[in-house]
Amino acid sequence: MSYFDPLFAQGLNWEVWLIVIIKVLVAFVVLLVATALMIWFERKVISDMQSRIGPNRAGPWGLLQTLADGTKLVFKEDLLPDRADSFVFKLAPYLSVIPAVLIFSVVPVGGVITVGSHTFELQVADPPMGILVVLAMSGIAVYGVMLAGWSSGSKYPLLGSVRASAQVISYEAALGMTVVTVVLVSHSLSTRAIVDAQAHGFWDWNLIRLGFLPFIFFMIAITAELTRPPFDLTEAEQELVGGFHTEYSSIRFGLFFLAEFMNTITMSAVVVTLFFGGPDGPIPHFIPTSDVWMPIVWFVIKTAAFCFIYVWFRAALPRLRYDQLMDLGWKRLIPMTLAWLLLVAAVITWHWGGLIMVAVVALAAVLLTRANKLGSGRSEADSVLPPVGSRLTPAPRLKPVPDGGSSKGDGA
């Protein structure tokens, strides 16, 4: 099924341009305000969970705290480390922020509305490969972190950015495969089509149609992709000072901060789009109707719920060790998402006959577990080097000169 943005059906004219520009501006402003609120929300919720009060000085209930912090950051001194690569150092924050903003452009926030003679969707853009844009942008965002760490000319940022790139690459595979399962049942890459395919009530949401597990995999992978707790090894304060943004100050640091929270919102929105029917209400389906506000309200409620869940993760879960992180990514998530992908594909192709795939997956799981066990056993027994105590010390390179020889030499 091919999918086109109905806005461009009549060709381009100035009205279309105007609508596009207005959509872009509204989305940008709303996203910025939402980010400010998200930072406030996160701080309030996490302090509630820790029996604290949280920000309550700036504005009512501390709502303007983010504004105050932002103002402070803008007026602070902007430091450039001596050993930094200045061009890349200045570029990196923008590489972080711009993808974060762009991801939101493909998220459908409401239904389809008609103004005058123009019918358009309530989302900034509806490219035919929408969901790939999300994956691509989250891939590009790693460059921001990577280059920030590398260009700082300092060791902790570098370590943080190396961790970040390894982590994001590991979890992107699992992320991609869960997205593929969604795409398989929706028959389209367009986010609008994915939402429309779920628009017949909550029993049609991908959450239920795909059987919960892909959603759980996706949540884990996306949390790791966002480098949010409990996967925040990239900015583990106890180990790496501040991680990749240790050397950043002033508004450049602010941009990283902004990008992080913006990503949290956009990824909540992406989860809602992929698994929870986007702007669709639970029982009556709103998308094809002309109702403007209810879909938006549903979308906001669902997104806010996921924002809360991310904060809840942060409050409840301890940070993973690096090897646990890699184990979870490579040994658990990737095989499991792959298995689920095969199951979904087989069932779509052969209907009930596809359940044969269960046997195949089970066999693969047994083999994989066995291989893992063998591998882990062998690494302990046949280590490359013997333990430190039993190792032979290398012969000294300088031989001691015998006493007699030296005195003889003096005499001669």
Binding site: M49, Q50, S51, R52, I53, W312, A315, A316, P318
Partner: protein, 278 residues
């Protein structure tokens, strides 16, 4: 360990979600500090004051023991002979120069313990952040209490109405006889503006928590505690029941003792009677 236990271990981290939810419903312990202040501990170590007798004479005799004992070396004292026509202190000498450097002071209260005349004591004032080094050095003119026995309020000090109450000097950690359980009724002099201080818990059997501020402290702290952290005796209805029970037990013991005594008395009377008959 079976498979079930293994799985339980694997997913034990899920308990964190429950715990965080429980914490959302718990009362907050935060005090909104500048607006709302907690009662201070009765023996809080704040900034020093130099006390005076009720007739206005200074207590300091310029002996320099405080300066000698100070571990942070923050006190500077110079004594001078009292002018015979208008003596400053009742003794032979008086503190001519008295300076404390609060960049060094660690508020250990050893000067207070060393002072033979209770001249130097620590008030409960702690909100005196200064912005330059010369303000950090408090001179004698700033330390000595005013005619009412109250500490002087200096321009950079931030304390509000009531903060200077109960801050007068008195011998705290130790008593003249060296025993913390000292029944100190008259051993130390009355203070300007305060008279003789009421004894605290641990200092006397006749402790008065209301006068020393301990009760107020307890009352401000307890609403912030969880129910299980409050001593049983202070827990509202539950506490009342508990106290009644304790009282009943005590009464029962008393009654039993009285009964036993009566019995004994009767027995002895009987014995006396029997003796008289024979």
């Amino acid at each position: 360990m079976g498979l079930g236990d293994d799985m339980k271990d694997q997913f034990s981290f899920l308990g964190g979600f429950k715990l965080t939810m429980q914490h959302m419903t718990r009362p907050r312990v935060t005090t909104q500090y500048p607006e709302e202040k907690k009662a201070k501990q009765p023996r809080q170590h704040g900034r020093h004051v130099l006390n005076r007798y009720e007739d206005g004479m200074e207590k300091c005799i310029g002996c320099e023991l405080c300066a000698g004992v100070c571990p942070a070396d923050c006190i500077y004292v110079r004594g001078l002979d009292n002018p015979p026509d208008h003596p400053v202190s009742p003794g032979e000498r008086y503190g001519y120069v008295y300076e404390i450097n609060y960049l060094r002071c660690i508020h250990c209260d050893m000067c207070v313990e060393a002072c033979p005349t209770e001249a130097i004591t620590e008030s409960k004032l702690f909100e005196f952040s200064f912005t330059n080094r010369s303000d950090a050095i408090y001179t004698k003119a700033e330390l000595v209490v005013d005619d009412d026995g109250m500490p002087q309020k200096l321009p950079w000090e931030d304390w509000r109405e009531g903060d200077d109450m109960m801050t007068s000097g008195w011998m705290r950690a130790t008593s003249p006889s060296g025993s913390a359980a000292y029944e100190g009724e008259v051993q130390w002099s009355g203070e300007l503006g305060y008279g003789t201080r009421a004894p605290e818990g641990g200092q006397s059997a006749n402790r008065n928590d209301e006068l020393t501020g301990t009760k107020a402290l307890r009352q401000t702290l307890e609403p912030h505690l969880l129910a299980e952290d409050i001593p049983l005796a202070h827990r509202g209805m539950q506490g009342r029941v508990w106290r009644a029970k304790i009282g009943a037990e005590r009464n029962k013991k008393k009654m039993e003792a009285t009964r036993a005594r009566m019995k004994e008395l009767r027995a002895s009377r009987k014995a006396a009677k029997a003796e008289g008959k024979t």
